[in-house]
């Protein structure tokens, strides 16, 4: 089959959840199909400033067609967003949202109009940006939408109403994403596949002495951006409550730090860690905590399970708590009940991590991912 993947940014140095998913999908599909990518010249998701030259490029041996960004994010984007979410506004205001958000890329759309029908299937990544929101409607009869949606305000804006009724098939990252989309759009009649992710096996040789960098006693690890938006503030409050209640141990925060952290002996801020350190840290942790409430796919949970470490997540996050329920790889805590939940988890030991290791080996193997992608293609291809 001839397959086209449409995504807002693409490249070896592009960081982003949906973008890296798009790239691994492209590489896996290219093992048995002809795959091309249509994207923009941007690499920064905020400004959408042109970074790559327009025209043909090659990434991982695949043809990447880059189209120029006619305009990036509007300087008044935040005001526009605030008005759409909180203020009086018109339909015309909502229709201007896409261009204000960027990347506005009319040439990509004209390309779909000219040549979209020469592909058997067109996979669109991320519902929210213009290339998908205005591109899918050009070739709906051969399209799959990998929406990477969560329950957020823009999901209800006018430009997306028809988008979610048109794809020939959906690729969801998790069953929870599917439930959100079905709940908002009442489009349960459109075929879908929960495609999840595929992952490489973790490296075999890890630094066994890594654990000695921390004091003796339980080691609780957080891995990700250290900022309020990811729930790290709540985590620190919960940690304090746990310690005040007589709990022992050390909390290690690994990741770029974007908030103030009061200095204390039992909290270690590691900053950004290398890939090698990451695996060593995950392997020696007694439990990984992921307090974020807005996570469309907890990759770090899957990585923890790959090395047999159990996890602790809030019940308020349907995606991560759903993952824990499915894998049996940890515990879920309710609002305000972090401290007792952590105490319980540390008392229970690593057994849940071991069973989740088997689950993730099966679920996230490349073979399983390929099978799910294959089913999605079957549903989408014209």
């Amino acid at each position: 089959m001839r397959i086209l993947i449409v995504v807002q940014r693409y490249g070896a140095d592009v960081v982003g959840g949906s973008e890296s998913h798009a790239r691994s999908t492209a590489m896996r599909l290219s093992l048995s199909h002809h795959v091309e990518i249509a994207t923009t010249t941007a690499s920064d998701f905020w400004t959408w400033a042109s970074h790559y030259p327009a025209g043909d490029d090659e990434v991982d041996g695949l043809r990447v067609r880059r189209f120029p960004v006619a305009s990036g994010r509007s300087p008044s984007f935040k005001e526009i967003e605030d008005r759409l979410v909180f203020g009086q506004h018109s339909l015309a205001d909502e229709e201007r949202w896409l261009a204000a958000q960027g990347p506005h890329c009319p040439e990509l759309l004209e390309f779909l109009h000219r040549e979209g029908r020469s592909y058997d299937a067109v996979l669109f990544y991320t519902y929210i940006y213009e290339p998908t929101a205005l591109g899918l409607r050009i070739v709906p009869e051969r399209s799959a939408l990998i929406s990477t949606a969560h329950d957020e305000w823009p999901l209800r804006f006018a430009p997306y109403r028809a988008l979610f009724q048109m794809p020939r098939a959906f690729g969801f990252l998790t069953p929870e994403e599917r439930d959100v989309v079905h709940g908002v759009f009442h489009n349960g009649h459109i075929p879908y596949e929960v495609i999840g992710v595929g992952m490489d096996a973790p490296p075999e040789d890890r630094d066994a002495s890594y654990r000695t960098r921390f004091p003796a006693g339980p080691l609780v690890v957080y891995l990700g951006q250290v900022r309020e938006g990811k729930g790290v503030g709540e985590l620190l409050d919960g940690w304090t409550a746990y310690r005040d209640g007589g709990g022992r141990g050390t909390l290690a925060l690994a990741g770029v730090q974007r908030m103030e952290i009061a200095s204390r002996d039992d909290v270690v801020a590691l900053g950004r860690v290398s890939d090698e350190e990451k695996w060593s840290l995950l392997a020696c942790a007694d439990v990984l905590v992921l307090p974020s409430r807005l996570e469309s796919l907890g990759i770090v949970l899957l990585e923890a399970w790959q090395v047999g470490t159990p996890v602790l997540v809030p019940s308020a996050n349907k995606v991560t708590s759903g993952q824990v329920t499915r894998s049996g790889g940890g515990w879920v805590y309710d609002d305000g009940a972090f401290a007792p939940a952590l105490a319980g988890a540390l008392g229970a030991g690593r057994a849940p991590g071991e069973s989740a290791r088997r689950w993730v080996r099966e679920e996230c193997s490349w073979e399983s991912f390929d099978r799910r992608l294959g089913r999605l293609l079957e549903l989408a291809a014209a």
Binding site: L91, E110, R137, E141, A158, A162
Partner: protein, 394 residues
């Protein structure tokens, strides 16, 4: 309490001529006892200019509130230019967008109202796929939308801009099997729930062939044509076939009767009679009196004349290249089709010479209309469709 329904259509009301618009009004009138209907339309009466004719605001038509929104600019005088660009090979998406805006009726206020009002209404019925109110309005309320496309094979149907109109609605109400096949071939949108609904045909019981013959002084067997006499309806071909056949068979006494406004030259000959625009009573008397009805048009989503002929038990003669009329005739057994002037002549001769054959064909057509195109069945099917839309969004 009756469930609310919005009806969106480009024009509506007194003096609005047009098949789809008449269809919209008749259907609205008949749905009104079951649903709390509000019609959203424009102030235009004439589709060639979209000139603001009606007053903006609410007017009651057939006891239904009709909300009219102003047309912000008339159809461009150079509209044909934009049409040519959009239909040309290698045109752009931008050409298509401009075409839809220029074609009109351009009424952004209608869209704003639909967007606000649409939140509280469980279903919205859109008439005609091609105009601005549907192209721009349907994607605002897709999960509540039921589309009556009235599509036929024409260049506009091939444009990308119409993809959402056919892929996003919750249901599509086609007029005929043929229209459905055409749309499915073009859009591959089979997944969108759909049904053949069409329009109902009510024929008056009091029909009199004698009354017609006396009023117009027409004797002997005749073939009837009903509708505007215009090239786009296939009249030029009809006249050509008629003249060629009559040259070959000059001694036969058969007349071609044309009922409707003339918009082209009509052959001046004794065996072609133009009786102009007729009343409903005269039209049904004419069906009663004729041997067969000629429907030469190639492009339509639906032929009311065909249904009316059959409802009166008269066979239909159509062009074999017409997907809709000949397709319906084949399925119903209510008519015959020609591929040449010679075949046209043979069909007329056979129907005149063998009244039994004409009667049998007409009776088959009548059964077809009664099984599909009657108002009680159509209204019931629409109500089922709306109930399904409500349920799925509940």
């Amino acid at each position: 309490m009756r469930p609310p329904l919005l009806v969106v259509v480009q024009r509506y009301g007194e003096g609005v001529a047009g098949g789809a618009e008449a269809h919209a009004r008749e259907l609205t009138r008949r749905l009104a006892p079951h649903l709390d209907i509000e019609v959203l339309t424009t102030t235009a009466q004439d589709y060639r200019t979209w000139e603001n004719h009606f007053t903006a605001g609410i007017e009651w038509v057939d006891d239904v509130p009709v909300h009219r929104f102003p047309v912000l600019r008339p159809r461009a005088w150079d509209f044909k230019l934009y049409e040519r660009r959009a239909f040309a090979e290698g045109h752009t998406l931008e050409d298509e967008r401009i075409f839809v805006d220029q074609q009109g009726p351009y009424s952004p206020e209608l869209l704003e109202y639909l967007w606000r009002r649409g939140r509280d209404v469980p279903h919205v019925l859109f008439f005609t796929y091609i105009y601005y109110p549907t192209v721009r309005g349907l994607p605002i309320v897709p999960e509540k939308a039921v589309l009556v496309p009235t599509a036929h094979a024409e260049p506009a149907l091939l444009l990308s801009i119409y993809e959402p109109v056919f892929h996003a609605p919750r249901a599509i109400a086609f007029n005929t099997e043929e229209e459905r096949a055409l749309v499915h071939r073009r859009f591959r949108n089979e997944r969108v729930p759909n049904d053949i609904l069409g329009v109902g045909v009510d024929v008056p019981a009091d029909r009199s062939a004698d009354r017609f013959r006396q009023r117009f002084g027409i004797e002997g067997p005749f073939v009837l044509y009903v509708g505007r006499v215009v090239e786009s309806k296939g009249c030029r071909e009809l006249f050509g076939h008629w003249e060629r056949w009559r040259r070959a068979q000059p001694e036969r006494r058969v007349t071609l009767v044309l009922a409707g406004q003339a918009e082209m030259a009509i052959p001046r000959r004794e065996d072609v009679r133009h009786i102009g625009i007729v009343s409903d009573e005269e039209k049904y008397d004419a069906y009663e009196a004729c041997t067969a009805v000629a429907v030469p048009e190639l492009l339509s989503s639906m032929s009311m004349v065909t249904l009316e002929s059959w409802a009166c038990g008269r066979p239909v003669i159509s062009d074999a290249a017409s997907p809709v009329v000949w397709g319906m005739s084949r399925r119903s057994g209510g008519g015959l089709a020609y591929r040449s002037a010679a075949e046209f002549g043979e069909i007329v001769e056979m129907l005149v010479d063998q009244p039994d054959v004409a009667r049998t064909l007409g009776a088959s057509g009548k059964r077809f209309v009664e099984s599909t195109y009657t108002w009680p069945r159509i209204i019931e099917t629409y109500l089922d469709l709306f109930a399904e839309v409500r349920m799925r969004n509940a």
